[in-house]
């Protein structure tokens, strides 16, 4: 990383009065614009965003779809950390042009009566409160239901095909004594479960459970001296293209197209090389979109692709062998469990649900409402 990245543009906004005319996102956009001009670059060059509160909200506001994102918040040192992370990301080839920004106006916020936005470091209003909340869309289910609606209209995907994903996932859960639900289910069971946000039924939806997880990472050199078989990070990629569902460019295609391609390219693998897919299944439609966007099948073919049960035990593409968010656990932010199960499978510790000597596992996380996809390719020593 040493010498591999540089700061090429800067700007700040201050006033001797201690107050600025602009605030919130408008102020952020101004200093970003000035810093880009200082660098001789434009917004179109930017493929990485750092913001200590919400890199997703900032990117949505600017209309950009970054493949490096960092919302690390360490208080006043957040921005040094952002530089550190951005330098590492650039050195690693994750992105080429990163912007970072900070704006707070606690002094003038008092006059505006804005409720201390500056003190909270939360710039500007909440677009969702202004443009979404009045319509009573269920969160987070409603946006996924809209995606399913669009996928069905464009590609002819059926409720039965979505249900098959829940059925295959439950079959894995039946092999996991720690899963929340272990009784097998049928497509009819899914379709007979209460409709929530149409076309999604209760059994198309993830659980609400308690849960916790953790991981420890170290260098490859040290890892070789430790007790467990190392699980190597072979590739990684991230992309987000909206925060509110109305801003998603195409509801049938997630930014997993970008995150997955980046991770697979870094790892030097193709979809056919993957022994285990841990794909975030907040809803059945979520998992179906992953299959298409990561290239396991063509866009639009996800429905027919899953119908032979290939995602379940004994199938050609084992997915979510712990039972997934649909049947194992889902405390709200399930991504940690994708990593834990992938590591256990690669280490051969999964008992009745253990795959036969898997070498490469993909953990594909989905954040917010199909907003931010992050893909990890994990592998054993043999996969290095």
């Amino acid at each position: 990383m040493r010498g591999r990245a540089a700061i090429v543009g800067v700007s700040d906004a201050v006033s001797p009065t201690g107050e600025l005319e602009l605030h919130g996102r408008a102020l952020e956009a101004t200093v970003i614009s000035e810093a880009l001009a200082d660098a001789g670059l434009t917004l179109a060059d930017v493929d990485g965003v750092c913001h200590s509160t919400s890199s997703l909200g900032l990117a949505e506001y600017l209309g950009i779809h970054p493949r490096f994102t960092d919302s690390t918040n360490t208080g006043g040192s957040s921005y040094e950390v952002h530089v550190e992370h951005a330098a590492a990301a650039i050195a690693a080839g994750l992105c080429e042009v990163v912007i970072g920004v900070y704006a707070a106006t606690p002094r003038s916020d008092r006059k505006r009566g804005g409720g201390g936005r500056g003190r909270m470091m939360m710039p500007g209003p909440n677009p969702s409160a202004e443009w979404e909340m009045a319509y009573g869309m269920r969160m987070p289910m409603g946006p996924y239901a809209l995606a399913a609606s669009r996928h069905m209209a464009v590609w002819g995907t059926t409720p039965e095909q979505l249900a098959q994903i829940a059925v295959s996932t439950r079959a894995w859960a039946a092999l996991n004594p720690r899963a929340r639900y272990q009784d097998p289910i049928t497509i009819d069971d899914v379709l007979a479960s209460p409709m929530q946000s149409s076309p999604l039924h209760l059994l198309d939806s993830c659980l609400v459970t308690d849960g916790a997880g953790a991981f420890v990472m170290t260098s490859a050199e040290r890892a070789r001296d430790l007790a467990n078989k190392p699980v190597y990070v072979l590739g990684a990629g991230t992309c987000h293209d909206h925060l509110m569902i109305s801003q998603m460019p195409d509801l049938t295609t997630t930014p997993g197209v970008v995150s997955g391609a980046g991770a697979f390219r870094m790892a030097g693998i193709k979809p056919g090389d993957v022994d285990l897919l841990m794909g975030y299944d907040s809803f059945t439609i979520t998992a179906l979109l992953h299959l298409e966007d990561l290239g396991f099948c063509a866009k639009g073919d996800g429905g027919p692709f899953v119908m032979d049960g290939k995602l379940g035990p004994g199938g050609s593409l084992p997915m979510n062998t712990n039972g997934g968010g649909l049947s194992y656990t889902h405390p709200g932010a399930y991504g940690m469990f994708l990593i834990v199960e992938a590591a256990r499978q690669l280490r051969g510790e999964c008992g009745a649900r253990q795959l036969d000597s898997p070498q490469i596992a993909v953990a594909h996380g989905s954040g917010m409402v199909l907003s931010c996809m992050s893909t990890l390719v994990l592998g054993t020593e043999a996969a290095l």
Binding site: L22, G24, R25, A26, A29, T30, I32, S33, L43, Y61, L62, G63, I64, G124, P125, P127, A129, E130, W131, E132, M133, A134, Y135, G136, M137, R138, M139, G142, A145, L146, A147, A148, S149, R150, A153, V154, P194, M195, Q196, S197, S198, P199, L200, M244, I245, S246, Q247, L251
Partner: protein, 135 residues
């Protein structure tokens, strides 16, 4: 008066909400890029200029995607359920979240032609909703 959450008004969006008092749908346009912007903001998301203006919108659109909410997110909307929440592609080329009323929610389908209609909020503003377009 519905039990809806009533949207806050910001300095930036005030022209939009003021126009709803007379049931007018406005869209923000970037003068430099000559393109509409949704949701309203302070700068153009393409060129970062703040030279934006408000123009009347046609109020015509098509349903891009739809879901029928059987349980409301907001408990105060319980007596309205089930209702259709939809993404509407406006004729001008932007996509907004809204709700389709004026027909059974299950009848709302992707690609249905719709026009804007209005529901009164408590302070004289109106919330834009959509209904099936009349032939």
């Amino acid at each position: 008066m519905s039990g809806r959450f009533e949207p806050p008004v910001t300095e930036t969006s005030e022209p939009f909400w003021d126009a709803t008092r007379t049931r007018q749908l406005l869209l923000q346009w970037c003068v430099a890029c000559e393109r509409p912007i949704w949701f309203p903001r302070e700068v153009c998301p393409s060129c970062l200029t703040s030279a934006l203006e408000w123009r009347p919108a046609s109020g015509r659109g098509t349903v891009y995607a739809v879901t029928v909410e059987h349980k409301p997110q907001n408990p105060a909307m319980a007596d309205m359920a089930p209702y259709a929440v939809a993404l509407i592609d406006l004729a001008e080329g932007v996509r907004m979240l809204s709700s389709v009323v004026g027909c059974p929610p299950g009848d709302v389908g992707v690609d249905m032609a719709v026009t804007v209609t209005w529901e009164a909020l408590s302070d004289g503003r109106h919330l834009p909703l959509f209904e099936p377009a009349r032939a």
